[in-house]
């Protein structure tokens, strides 16, 4: 129960940071002027803090898990890694062909990667139960 409360608290902090980063990011991207101002720095800092918090939560969750749960997390992470690498290659090709901006595709890959990881965790967990 204490483990779940810690996980919920970490998730709430990360989601809040991500939400604020997305909000400020919209303002930064919607008015790109090539000049690094305080808004850009805040957005960049919040994004780094949010994903740093996400990585920290994943690390804490892994350390608190037992051996089977760690195996489930590692399997899901390795599958997600392959999906993300494939996505990066596609994004690079689309950017080289000037079809889609790299900035947009990277955001899609990051969000899609997180969702894929969560889904794969549930699939792998179900198959091992």
């Amino acid at each position: 129960m204490k483990r779940q409360r810690t996980a919920n608290k970490n998730a709430a902090i990360v989601m809040t940071l991500l939400f604020v980063a997305l909000l400020t990011g919209n303002l930064a991207i919607s008015a790109p002027d090539g000049i690094l101002d305080i808004g850009d720095i805040v957005w960049g800092g919040l994004s780094v803090a949010a994903f740093g918090g996400l990585l920290w939560s994943l690390y804490v969750s892994y350390k608190q898990s037992d051996e089977r749960q760690q195996l489930v997390q590692l399997k899901a992470t390795s599958l997600t890694f392959m999906i993300v690498i494939f996505g990066v290659v596609i994004a690079q090709i689309l950017h080289a062909l000037a079809i889609v901006s790299l900035n947009i595709t990277v955001q899609i890959i990051v969000i899609g990667g997180i969702l894929a990881w969560i889904s794969l965790m549930k699939v792998v967990e179900r198959r091992s139960n």
């Binding site: 898990s65 037992d66 051996e67 089977r68 749960q69 967990e125 091992s128 139960n129």
Partner: protein, 72 residues
């Protein structure tokens, strides 16, 4: 790999949660071990054997198919 964990647990009237708490793992892990969907690591297998005061090979039984795959 088969095991007699469920039988041993029932003989002592322990729940899966009881065994999990004593071994420091989740109840889902004990369930996965009992149903044969997960083979425990050596340290966990030794802990299980010590908990039930038996030898590892008395609790975990290598199937004929497992032995064939190991020899291949």
């Amino acid at each position: 790999m088969r095991n007699t964990l469920a039988i041993l647990r029932a003989a002592r009237k322990w729940s899966q949660a009881d065994v999990a708490n004593q071994l420091g793992v989740s109840r889902q892990t004990i369930n996965a071990v009992e149903t044969g969907r997960y083979d425990p690591s050596l340290p966990l297998a030794i802990k299980i054997a010590r908990l039930f005061e038996m030898r590892i090979e008395e609790i975990f039984i290598l199937d004929a198919t497992d032995a064939t795959q190991n020899n291949a």
